[in-house]
């Protein structure tokens, strides 16, 4: 098993395209997306805009630890402008034979 980093981003779905582009640019070419995430957060005056607005998405990407700093740099401006959260966790990867070496 190999040490990797787990990046998880929760954001409004209209940011999805931009976020994925940012991931791609910083070298992360694999990810998964869960849609239809409901959420609530504290930012003054803004509330969750259920059905009438676009929903949140939940993006998970596992990557080698070296990429983290460039990812954070690429993601942070998007979060600053449009909101959303990004968290990073340590994880162990069960490598399968078909895996492309990063």
């Amino acid at each position: 098993m190999h040490e990797v980093k787990r990046i998880e981003i929760i954001a409004n779905s209209f940011e999805l395209g931009k976020l994925i582009d940012a991931l791609e640019k910083s070298g992360i070419h694999s990810h998964s997306v869960l849609r239809n995430v409901a959420g609530k957060q504290l930012r003054s005056g803004q509330e969750d805009l259920d059905r009438t607005m676009l929903d949140n998405v939940y993006i998970v990407a596992f990557c080698v630890p070296d990429l983290i700093s460039s990812v954070v740099e690429a993601i942070r401006p998007l979060l600053n402008r449009f909101g959303g959260t990004c968290h990073i966790t340590d994880a162990m990867e069960v490598r399968s034979m078909k895996c492309v070496d990063e």
Binding site: F14, G45, E47, D50, T52, M53, L54, R81, F82
Partner: protein, 323 residues
């Protein structure tokens, strides 16, 4: 006659199901129409009204009346946000919120239009297919105007507007695209197309609208609690502005010489506010504005006001003026 019209509107199953939806929220029932069913209904309604309008248009053809109405429609869509902006700016002291709300009221609500069209049908009154073209054409301009207003008047933060994205969002968002596409297909296939597609687009229409208004009642009622935070000014705005815009619309319709049915739809387009396309565009392009302001006013005040009181009221005014 006014009260008669309002009553006959209120005893409409579709309007009553709208109330039922609101009631469900107030008594805290767990009734809900799960996603993506409401989306299916709205796609259906857009496809059906677009197609029907196209078929009608293929029969009537283009006339100077049609072109005049289109010019009037686009003008209203561009001017309403401008005067709304200055009123809102004065009342709210916030340029971003003012621009976003102004754009919302410059655009239209397709469901309000469709509810008005089925109200006409019930009264045995007809309308022309080109009104659907107006519906499609009035959705987008306000988004552009709103953004121009922000760029001209708002304190300049590091805004880099991607105009290509804004234009795509404005003119190619799913509702405008499907509406125009269905309209064109209706024109192309004409009477023959209508024959094979009408069991689907005609017979289900009122039922789907009813179901959709049930959902709109649920959604609108959930927004009502937000109104506490919006303040009296905005609530007054979201009733008085539609009334004013409808009056302007009726005046224009009279000038152009529209028939009563078309005049009602035109006034409803002017009076209604967008609660889907424009809010989505504003959230993306003017993230500084507070979405709960522009969504709640359009959805929890203007929309119910128009479908319950507005539609019969505007028709009453039109019948007075035209007779």
């Amino acid at each position: 006659m006014d009260s008669n019209l309002i009553l006959s509107n209120l005893l409409n199953p579709a309007i009553l199901f709208f109330f039922l939806g609101m009631l469900a929220v107030f008594v805290q029932s767990d009734l809900e129409i799960p996603a993506p069913i409401p989306k299916l209904f709205s796609l259906y309604l857009l496809l059906a009204i677009g197609f029907k309008g196209g078929v009608e248009l293929s029969k009537s053809g283009l006339s100077s009346e049609v072109l005049l109405t289109i010019v009037a429609a686009i003008s209203m869509a561009c001017i309403v946000p401008v005067y709304s902006f200055f009123i809102l700016r004065w009342g709210l002291k916030n340029d971003y919120d003012a621009a976003a709300i102004a754009a919302t009221y410059g655009s239209i609500s397709a469901v309000t239009f469709i509810t008005a069209s089925s109200f006409l049908k019930e009264l045995g009154m007809s309308f022309h297919g080109f009104m659907v073209a107006d519906l499609a054409l009035m959705e987008s301009p306000a988004i552009i105007v709103g953004l121009i207003l922000v760029n001209l008047f708002a304190a300049n933060r590091d805004r880099e507007v991607s105009w290509s994205e804004v234009l795509r969002e404005a003119f190619l968002n799913s509702s405008v695209f499907l509406l125009i596409g269905s309209l064109v297909i209706g024109v192309l296939t004409g009477e023959h197309g209508a024959e094979i597609l009408s069991p689907f687009t005609e017979q289900l229409f009122y039922g789907v609208l009813t179901f959709f208004l049930l959902d709109m009642g649920l959604v609108a009622a959930k927004r009502i609690k937000d109104l506490q935070k919006t303040g009296v000014f905005l609530i007054a705005f979201s009733i008085l502005m539609p009334l004013f815009n409808a009056a302007v619309g009726i005046g224009l319709a009279r000038l152009i010489g529209l028939e009563t049915g078309d005049a009602l739809l035109f006034s409803v387009l002017c009076a209604s506010a967008s609660y889907i396309a424009v809010p989505a565009a504003m959230r993306m392009t003017v993230p500084e504005a507070n979405p709960s302001l522009y969504v709640s006013t359009a959805l929890a005040v203007t929309f119910p006001f128009n479908i319950i009181v507005g539609i019969p009221l505007y028709l009453y005014g039109i019948e007075l003026l035209w007779s």
